[in-house]
Amino acid sequence: MTDDDRVFKALSDPTRRFLLDRLFARDGSTLGALEAEVQMTRFGVMKHLRVLEDAGLVVTRRSGREKLHFLNPVPIRLIHDRWINKYAERHVSALVELKHELEETA
């Protein structure tokens, strides 16, 4: 699997997307704090976090005795720069330019 494959796979699950949104709003959470927010066993949450870590979307750091989970959005940015820029933004900006041109000549 390539890095992109791992990111797309990680994002393909609603629980994992929920965990990312949760870290976005409250970054640096312990496993216990994350577990309290999903209806799932500790083992289930750990499995999902593992997939997110493998994709590079979650990075863990030790703080004293605690292991904290942080959202790492860089892989999503890389996909944005690789895919969204290429397929979406140019078309959008072309349409915006067309709109301005038509409105100016009208």
Partner: protein
């Protein structure tokens, strides 16, 4: 909706794998020649010793918009080339962000397998909501750049392909 919740204000961690040596990544971060080739395309000047000064200069676009000569300032805390750099970091070009004070920024570079290195950026912005929003890209639509995501994506692109993205904003 979870999508509308604001980014938390605390420590932010960013990690990226780059096909480059730790020394190349170190140089890209700490030398003026490299630092103006990606991200904000602005010169970073370090006095690489504990207590040494750090100055992030405004680029031409920023100067044209009336920014001060030094956009970001700080002090070097710990230097272990090419593995670890700890510094303080304050956004000096904006009065509100400047008033939030000095944050703590750590770069960690680890050699991986197959010529790939891992760069981790840890930016501690507890109690600094403006800085937290800017660094996480929340002000990109205002032309303020896309924060660490954007800078690190561009750094990876520069070191791996020799090309970086144009930056028009100030």
């Amino acid at each position: 909706m979870t999508t509308s919740i604001e980014r938390s204000v605390g420590t932010q961690v960013y990690q990226v794998y780059i096909k480059a040596t730790p020394q190349a990544i170190w140089d890209a971060i700490t030398t003026p020649e490299w630092s103006e080739r990606y991200g904000y395309h602005a010169r970073s000047v370090y006095d690489l010793r504990p207590g040494g000064a750090y100055k992030g200069y405004s680029n031409e676009g920023m100067l044209a918009m009336g920014a001060p000569e030094v956009a970001v300032d700080g002090e070097v805390v710990e230097v272990d080339p090419p593995r670890k750099l700890v510094q303080t970091w304050r956004m000096a070009m904006d009065p509100d962000l400047s008033a939030e004070g000095f944050s703590r920024l750590t770069y960690e570079i680890a050699q991986g397998e197959g010529g790939v290195s891992k760069l981790t950026v840890i930016h501690e912005v507890e109690g600094m909501p403006g800085l937290a929003a800017m660094l996480s890209g929340g002000m990109e639509h205002t032309g303020a750049g896309g924060g660490w995501n954007w800078v690190l994506s561009d750094l990876k692109s520069l070191l791996e392909t020799g090309a970086s993205m144009p930056y028009q904003g100030g």
